[in-house]
Each structure stands twice: as C-alpha cells, then as structure tokens.
C-alpha cells in the first residue's frame, strides 16, 4: 500500500516537473518562430512521419470505438424505443470526444514515444551537443518541427477518424442490428453541428502540441545510456497521456462555454 502511494506520488511529482519544463519549451519554441532560420524541409518530413505513424492506429481505434459506441447506444435506446437516435448520438460522441481523445492517446504512444527515443538517443550520443557546436539551435532544429507536425497532423487524422468512426456506427446499426440505412444517415447529419466537429479538431491540435512537448522535454532531459532512453520514452507517453486527459476537461469546459 505504501509502495503504491509512493509510486503515485512520484508520478505526480515528475508530472509537475514536466509541466514547468513543457511551459519553458513552449515559450522558447514560440520565440524561435519569430526569427529565422526555419527548417521547412524538416517540418514537412516530421509531418509525414507523424501522419504515417498515426493514421493506421487511429483508423483502427476510430472504427472500433464507433462500433462499440453504436452497440451500447442501441441497447440503451432500445429500452425506450428510440433506437433511431443511435446515429445522432454516435456522431456527436465520436466527433466531440471519442476520436479526438482516443486517437491522441494512441498518437502519444506512437509518435510521442518515438520523439523522446530519437531525441534522447541524440542526447546520450552527444549528437545534440554536436548540433550546438555547429551553431544550430536544437530547439529550432529538433523541437519546433515536431511541435508543428503533431499540432497540424493530429486534426487531419482525427478528421479522417471521425468519418471512419461514424461509418463504424453505421456498420453496427444497419448491418448488425438491422436498423434503417436512410434513418441512420438522416439522424446523423440532421443533428450533427459544425461546432461538434470543429471543437474536436481544436482539441486534437492542442493534444498534438501536448504530445510533442512531452516527447521533446523528456527527450532533451535524457541522462544515462539505453536505460535513460527507455525512461524518457515511457515518461513521454505517461506525461503526454496525463496532459491530454487533464487538459481535456478544461478544453471541454472552454469550448462548451
């Protein structure tokens, strides 16, 4: 029990330290965006990297989330004969909450961990020092492209995930439960508002930024050898995920108004 509490305490303390460093990195990155050099080529490479890494897992996550949610809602609505509303509920839940959060958690595991591992390895093999000795700022060269890549690409993959998730709901409602095809699409588009989609995309952009910030902070603070890189990697995933889940509450509050 004591070990459990102390373990929990350690995570909270580490997370608190990370928050401070995340803030510092964020402001340094913003400052560096106000003057050249800009490594546009690296920005582009990182976007492709994040997109490639995330899309497959996000597609699978979204499809099955849509399907499960449709299944559960159908059962619930069946209790008072409102199964035709399933499409509406699926669309709203998918776009506002499920895909942005679940996809971001998956990307934290895929891309955030990779960032921490890459930068961490560069730190322990003195490649980051080598960059600095050659007059190149590691924040501009390594962090900024990753911050931009995740915050631009995450909304893109979430948008695709939204469509796939809604399609997953359709598969369950129409093909599995025998609901009406026309009703499903009608109910979906009739009540889905633009703000449902955009609020999800705004969340995704912020979550993307959080993932990259934790990935870079943990990467730059790597000490020791292979073990240190391992710690940085898990730290980036844990920190990024906690950052997503906690900020999600405040973002939701803010976006609902």
């Amino acid at each position: 029990m004591i070990r459990l509490i102390s373990g929990l305490g350690r995570i909270v303390i580490e997370f608190g330290e990370d928050i401070g460093q995340v803030g510092i990195l964020f402001f340094k990155a913003i400052a560096s965006l106000r003057r050249p050099p800009f490594y546009f080529h690296t920005w582009f490479v990182q976007m492709l990297e994040v997109g490639n890494r995330s899309l497959p897992v996000v597609l699978v996550t979204s499809l099955f989330s849509g399907m499960v949610f449709a299944l559960q809602s159908w059962q619930g609505f069946a209790r008072f004969g409102a199964t035709e509303m399933t499409g509406t509920v699926v669309a709203i839940a998918i776009t506002r909450e499920m895909v942005p959060v679940l996809a971001s958690l998956m990307v934290a595991g895929r891309a955030g961990s990779a960032m921490a591992a890459e930068i961490g390895t560069m730190v322990v093999t003195e490649q980051v020092d080598a960059l600095r000795t050659m007059g190149t700022d590691p924040i501009e060269y390594l962090a900024v492209p990753r911050l931009i890549a995740t915050s631009v690409m995450l909304p893109v993959v979430v948008m695709i995930g939204d469509l796939v998730g809604i399609y997953g709901g359709y598969l369950v409602v129409v093909k599995l439960m025998g609901g009406g095809e026309v009703t499903y699409w009608q109910r979906t588009w009739e009540f889905l508002m633009m703000s449902d989609v955009t609020s999800g995309l705004i969340k995704a952009a912020v979550f993307g930024l959080i993932i990259a910030l934790f990935g870079c902070v943990r990467g730059f603070n790597t000490t020791g050898g292979a073990q240190g890189v391992g710690r940085a990697t898990t730290g980036a995933v844990v920190g990024g995920s906690m950052g997503i889940l906690i900020s999600n509450f405040f973002l939701t509050k803010l976006l609902i108004g």
């Binding site: 093999t125 003195e126 490649q127 960059l131 000795t133 050659m134 007059g135």
Partner: protein, 253 residues
C-alpha cells in the same frame, strides 16, 4: 593581457549537484598552439573543453577567446564563435539520421550560401583529406569506430575552423589508426595554423601532438609544460599518471 594569448581559462569552477568537478582551472593557449590536457577518467577534462565552446556555463570564473568571455556572449555572438570552432567528439557523435556526405555538409548548408555543387566539392575535399573519399553515401551505422572518428573530423573541419577541440581523439582505436588520427591533427595544426585543445589519457598521442601538455588533477591544473618537461617532471602525481602506475599519490597507495 599577453597579446599572444588566444584562449584563456580563468579560475574556472564547475559543480554538478554536490560534485565539484573543476575547482579553479587556469590555462592559457597561444594562437596556433596545440595544447593537450591529460588527466584520469572523470577528472573533468570533457567538462573543461565544453566550457570553451559554450556547451556548459561556468559556476565561477570564465573562458575567454580573444579576450571575450564565452559565457557572456549572446545568442548570435555564441553562434558566430562556434562557427570558428570545430569539435571532434569522443564517439564522433555523427547524426545517424544522415549519411556521411550529409553529416559533413551539415554546417556548410546551415551557415554558408554555398551552392550544392560547391558543397559537394568541399565534402569530397575534406573526406579525401581524412582518407575516406567516395564514402558519402554510407550511413554512420555501417562505419567502424575509426571511420566514424575520421568522418567526425571531416565534419568538424568542413567550415575551416580556427580552433579545434578534440575529445579523446584516439580512445578506442588500435595503435595504427590512433597514429593516423594523430597525423591528421598535426597536419591540421601545421597546414592551417589551427589552435587546438585536445583531451586524452593516451600518452603516446599526447607526446606526439602536443606543443604543451597540462595535467588536470583534483579540479585544477597540476602542472604544465612541453612534452619533454612533463616527461622529466619530478612531480609524483605526473610520474604516476604518465607511466600508468597503480601505485602512487593519485591512488593513495
């Protein structure tokens, strides 16, 4: 200040948490001189040269290059100074996401307006100089330790530095490869009049490449002199170190 002094280390102190690594290092290096700093593992040699290129900030004291304190330079100043310096890292620190050619071209692409063809020529030139012509397309993971070091050397000199810093240039190489690196270092000093600071515990290398040798011991410079003076020193600490004896004042036995 002496006109001839190019780099001066003045009362440099540096601690990491509770460990006091440097406790007042004083050292001055003349233009064109090859200074070798020797000392045991963990004596703070790397920490010392990392201050020269501004990778670490001193707790106390400073490093001056041409009278200008490195720790007080702003972003641009430090970046300009670093372009005049080249550093060879202990394990070469090649960018493993880039091939050999891209590694060597890195600083040229970042800091010069050279055209692709000119960069290609320059990369070829420095790779030939280190004896690795035609290896532009190889990846760092495909190279041996000695080749990596030579690529690291090629990368460090690509911009034509005035100051070279060598972190254990011969460690981990066989004696013949080590001597090739020594020859390259001497060649660079003689042909291009580069000022250099090397840190090593390889005494063969130290005697060969040094104009002067300084020994770092317990966070301070224990003694400084020409290779002959160091060899003839009566200081028991120096004698134990250069002859690699297990018994003596360093080990307290």
């Amino acid at each position: 200040m002496d006109d001839d002094v190019f780099i001066s280390v003045e009362g440099l102190h540096k601690s990491f948490s509770s460990q006091r690594v440097l406790r007042g290092v004083d050292l001055s290096i003349a233009r064109g001189e090859s200074m070798v700093v020797i000392g045991g593992s963990g004596s703070g040699k790397s920490v010392l040269i990392k201050h020269v290129i501004g990778l670490l900030d001193p707790d106390e004291g400073q490093v001056r290059v041409e009278g200008q304190a490195v720790g007080e330079l702003n972003r641009t100043g430090l970046s300009d100074l670093r372009r005049r310096m080249g550093m060879l890292f202990q394990y070469a620190a090649l960018f493993d996401s880039m091939n050999v050619g891209e590694n060597v071209a890195f600083a040229l692409r970042q800091h010069t307006k050279m055209k692709d063809a000119e960069i290609k020529d320059r990369v070829e030139e420095v790779l030939t100089w280190v004896g690795l012509e035609g290896l532009e397309e190889k990846w760092p993971a495909e190279l041996s330790g000695g080749m990596k070091k030579r690529v690291g050397l090629a990368r460090a000199i690509a911009l034509g530095p005035e100051i070279m810093l060598y972190d254990e240039p011969t460690t981990g190489l066989d004696p013949i490869l080590a001597d090739q690196i020594n020859d390259l270092i001497i060649d660079l000093n003689e042909r291009l009049h580069v000022t250099s600071i090397s840190i090593t515990h390889d005494m063969v290398s130290a005697y060969k490449i040094a104009d002067r040798i300084a020994m770092l011991y317990r966070g301070k410079i224990e003694e400084i002199g020409t290779p002959e003076q160091i060899q003839g020193s009566s200081n028991p600490v120096i004698q134990q170190f250069i002859h690699g004896r297990a018994e003596g004042p360093i080990t307290g036995r």
